[in-house]
Every structure is written in structure tokens, then in C-alpha cells.
């Protein structure tokens, strides 16, 4: 066994852990962004519906 043995084991272990972190962080970030996007679309739809109602209000 020579000097790089511990280093190699450390690198492999840390890479494994960071890969898992990257994967989970990407999933969490994507879920949060999807929620933001959905909220943004809902807000736009509501604004559009309100505008439509205002422009095409046919009530007497």
C-alpha cells in the first residue's frame, strides 16, 4: 500500500457523496422552479381572464 491509497479512497467517497448531493439538489431546485412557473402561469391566466372580462363585458 502506498501514499495515494487513502487519498484515492477519499476522492471516490467524496465524489459519490457529491454526486448524490447534485442529484437531490437538482430535483429540489426543479420542483421549486416548477411551483414558481405554475404560480406564474396561474397569475397570468387570471390577469388575462380579468382583461378579457373587462374588454368583452357584455352586461347591460
Amino acid at each position: 500500500m502506498n501514499a495515494p491509497h487513502i487519498s484515492a479512497a477519499y476522492t471516490k467517497a467524496a465524489d459519490h457523496i457529491l454526486a448524490q448531493v447534485r442529484e437531490e439538489v437538482a430535483a429540489i431546485t426543479a420542483a421549486a422552479r416548477a411551483i414558481s412557473q405554475e404560480a406564474k402561469k396561474e397569475k397570468e391566466s387570471s390577469a388575462l381572464a380579468a382583461l378579457r372580462a373587462k374588454l368583452f363585458d357584455t352586461r347591460p
Binding site: 500500500m1 502506498n2 501514499a3 495515494p4 491509497h5 487513502i6 487519498s7 479512497a9 477519499y10 476522492t11 467517497a13 467524496a14 459519490h16 457523496i17 457529491l18 448524490q20 448531493v21 447534485r22 437531490e24 439538489v25 429540489i28 431546485t29 420542483a31 421549486a32 422552479r33 411551483i35 414558481s36 405554475e38 404560480a39 406564474k40 397569475k43
Partner: protein, 202 residues
């Protein structure tokens, strides 16, 4: 790990390792912080955009917190075990004076490194089941570790007596032939981390 230091003479390379930790290990900590910040930013934006979905976002936030806590703990243990492992391997392949890895004078200027080495010793010795020599060394490392915070408060220098004690503990561990235990523990850290994450995301 040593790629960036390979041009340095052996003692300077060892001191660089001892003083600053390897660049790779520091880089890993930075990557963790950056990843965490990006996700927190996305969560905060979502919280503002969709306050009605706060419960759902809270679940994501807790998952992120547990992920970062688990990863920090695993990387901290890995770093400590690898730091001691470097010393153990150095002691096996050359004399302590040549390796320069446990020079008490260098530890005097680096209480954080001394602390990391002791944490590594404790992690390794506690992972060896029921061996009196390992248990005694673990107790000695814990006692030495308890001395460090007091010393730190007096100007970030370690008393030479404590630095010598830390160096001796590392050498005593080397005498117990603990490299294989260090390697086992490095594997265990990854396995425990992955098991925790599987449980957290199930």
C-alpha cells in the same frame, strides 16, 4: 488529491496539506455551499410566487436541510479520517521527520488541523469494536480535543505541549496499524450517507 501539489518538494507538500487541507477537500465544501444556495434561492422564489403552496415547499426545504446536514457530516468525517490516514500512510512509508505530517511546531500554528486530526483519530478508533488499545487512544484523543477550544481563545495558537500530544496520538494510532480501519471507515461513511438519503427520500 495531491495533483495540484506535485511540483512541491515533499516537506512543503506535506505542510501545504497540513496547513490548508487539500484543495480538493476545500473545493468539496465550496461545492456543497454553492449547491445549497442555488436550491435555497429557488425555494425562496417559489415561496414568494406561490404562498399557497407553502406546505409543499416546506417539505422540499426540510429535504434540502437534511441533505446538506448529512453531506456536511459525511464530508467532515471523511476529511478527518483522510487527514489521519495521510499521516498513517506517511508513517508507514517513511520516517515521521521525513513525512513532516505531524510536526508539532506546525500544529501550534494550526489548531484547526490539530482538531481535525483528533476527530479523525476518534472516528477511526471508535469504529474498531472493543479493542482496549483503540479505546484508550480514543479517550486520549477526546481529552486532547477538549483542551483545544480553551487554547484557541487565547489567539489561535496551540500550546506546544498539546501539539506534541496530538502528534503522539497520531503516531500511536500509526503504531496500531490503523490504515485498513481508516479505509473501512471511509467506505462506511459513504454507505451510511447513502442509506440516510434513501430513508429521507423514500
Amino acid at each position: 488529491m495531491n495533483g495540484a501539489h506535485e511540483h512541491l518538494p515533499p516537506v512543503a507538500k506535506a505542510e501545504r496539506e497540513l496547513v490548508g487541507g487539500s484543495e480538493e477537500r476545500v473545493h468539496n465544501e465550496h461545492e456543497l455551499v454553492a449547491a445549497s444556495l442555488n436550491a435555497k434561492l429557488a425555494l425562496n422564489e417559489a415561496m414568494q410566487a406561490a404562498p399557497g403552496r407553502a406546505e409543499e415547499l416546506e417539505v422540499l426545504r426540510k429535504r434540502l436541510d437534511s441533505l446538506i446536514t448529512d453531506a456536511n457530516e459525511a464530508l467532515k468525517t471523511l476529511g478527518a479520517v483522510a487527514a489521519v490516514g495521510d499521516v498513517l500512510e506517511g508513517a508507514r512509508t517513511k520516517s515521521t521527520e521525513q513525512s513532516g505530517l505531524v510536526d508539532p511546531q506546525t500544529l501550534v500554528e494550526n489548531p484547526d488541523k490539530a482538531e481535525q486530526l483528533l476527530e479523525g483519530v476518534i472516528a477511526i478508533t471508535e469504529n474498531v469494536s472493543d479493542d482496549p488499545a483503540h479505546r484508550a487512544l480514543s479517550n486520549e484523543a477526546k481529552a486532547a480535543l477538549a483542551e483545544i477550544p480553551r487554547t484557541k481563545q487565547t489567539g489561535r495558537r496551540l500550546a506546544l505541549t498539546i501539539a506534541e500530544r496530538v502528534a503522539k496520538i497520531c503516531l500511536d494510532l500509526a503504531g496500531l496499524g490503523a490504515v485498513s480501519h481508516a479505509l473501512d471507515l471511509i467506505e462506511d461513511c459513504t454507505r451510511v450517507f447513502m442509506e440516510n438519503r434513501r430513508a429521507a427520500t423514500a
